[in-house]
Amino acid sequence: MELLLQLLANGLVAGSGWAMVALGFGLIFRVTATFHLAHGSVYAAAGYFAYTAAGEWGLPWSAAFALAAAGATALGCLIDLGIYRPLRDREASPFVVLVSSLGAAVFLNNLYGLVWSQQVRNLTVAAGPGYALGPVTLSGVQVATVAAAAVATAGLLAFLAWSRAGIAMRAVANSPFMARSVGVPVERVRLLTFAVGSFLAAPAGILTTLDTGARPDMGLAVVLMATISVFVGGIGSLGGAALAALGLGLVINLGIWQWSARWQDAIAFSVLLGFVILRPRGLFGMRRRQAEV
């Protein structure tokens, strides 16, 4: 029982990290229709910026993390301005956008390798005892990850529900044409969406760097899990994406309980395949006709 609870807690932590990335990925996908694979590189950038600011420049952690979040947000905006907006202007096909996002991810990962080297960059806090919650033990970084994911999810849903910018994002997501016709500055909203989505990935990148270090390709696996979460949660349902990420973390860790950890990826993709075949609209996704309306 103790083992099961610990594995569930580990799954919750892993899922929380993926949830933050999935929220940003899902938001960008829903509002701008961009399959933003380079989102993983934005997540990695936050880790590297935090490493540089705190580890190399010696800034206090709070300042370093704020700088890292600002840097990641700026990078997300730059990717939109430099790559996706010109493609949208030329009415490029979704396939071209997808390939471009893949190219941006590969370019950025290589750039990180050149700037920070291929070695893992540690901002890792030295080993110490964790927090015991009954039979479960979690480290400080793990507790912070769960808390950050909860704040990010609640904050994003509130932002979309009640702020003018959030409502504008929903309008653009539903119909850019209609939004533009009622005076919504669509391109500015899209840029804001990249800013918000990138900002959401920053805490996950920073916390991962604190936990296990940063490396150039750290975003690939995470963006993969985020993608699965968005599809399983249901396109358009950001709360669903966050819940799906948590569920994915739990399922994978329960899988480890019974089988070897080498089957982690197989379990994750089995979940995706199961949903694609049995429930293509995901857990909370709207039916196509409803979504169009």
Binding site: Q6, N10, S117, Q119, A126, G128, T137, S139, G213, W257
Partner: protein, 389 residues
Amino acid sequence: MTSRRAGQGRWALAAALAAVLIHGGVAHAQPKSYRFGAVLPLTGNGATAGEWMRKGTELAVAEINAKGGIDGVPLEAVFEDSQTLARAGVSAITKLVAVDRVPFVHTAYTGITLAMVPIAEKNKIVLMNGGGVSPRLGGASPMLFNQIPLGDFQFAVLARYVRDDLKLDRVAIIYRNDDYGDGMAEWARRELPRIRLNLVGAESFEFGSQDFRSQLAKLRATNPAGIFVVAAGLEQANILKQAAEMGLKVTWLGFTPFESRDIAQIAAVPAEGSRYTMPEAVGPRYDALLAAFTARYKMGQPDYLVAGYYDATEIFANALRYARGKGWEYTGDSIRKALLEMPPYDGIFGKTQFAADGTVRKSISIKTFRGGKPAVVKTFSLDEILRMQ
């Protein structure tokens, strides 16, 4: 008389001409440099390790060349990136064969090395493993040499030490799911019961993993007194760190890769009291390496891989000198023959004398971390180890 003198003169002229031709011929055949390859994981999951390997190789090349190279000819290392992938390693050695035409190549990582073996055998290229310890490397090819005692040799020493000196009865193993980890786990499952060590748990992880908490939770449930760690670099440091955060208190047991800077930086506290094996490395050569490394790279304690690839390069230079002394050409076959025939090389990790299967046996030290720094607890001489087995 005149004709005898004339005859002698003709002989002298012919001899002189022959000498000029031979000498000139040799001078003409003298290469600008002796090139050798190094297919190392400079990017990808093994990039940190690859950087240490590159530094060790470069340091040895610089020192050899500063002393005049090989009879005046400098050594030149051609580095290729395996990206820590077998297929990229195969591409790299193919390029070294076709373009650089090197007869000798440093390799790293078991899976990559084994993937390169067919090309090495076909083209008669010597592969020198400077740091990998998977048992699967032993006798894998007549062209493959391993200059560090392999994992089965080290495991046998550590397992008996765990049983006889530490008196631990329940042990577990956490290992990387690759040729290195699988080879060691295979050995553990087969051999530990034979020496009456109870293997109560075995968990694996994928190469490049950074979160080991679930595997550690499963191992904790088996209540082991000691856990063998078959991993490298940051993987090990994260395993120890995450175990400490989970409150898992065991004696950590490892092998040569355990002596990494990552453990000293991140997991120094949980590593206190650990035990791991390392070929005995004492004396002035080790001190000289530390001083040279610090002077060149402005860094502190190097990883064991620096010493491993430094030794591997020195061994190559010695083999080259031996082959030249015998008048052999610069080919893989002659380097291989030299490696098997030449006198033992006295390196950082003691005397290296290759067996016919390309492996070495050396004295093994049992080490630990004290105050975040590696320290020798006990050393088993080669004779003692052979008696054990």
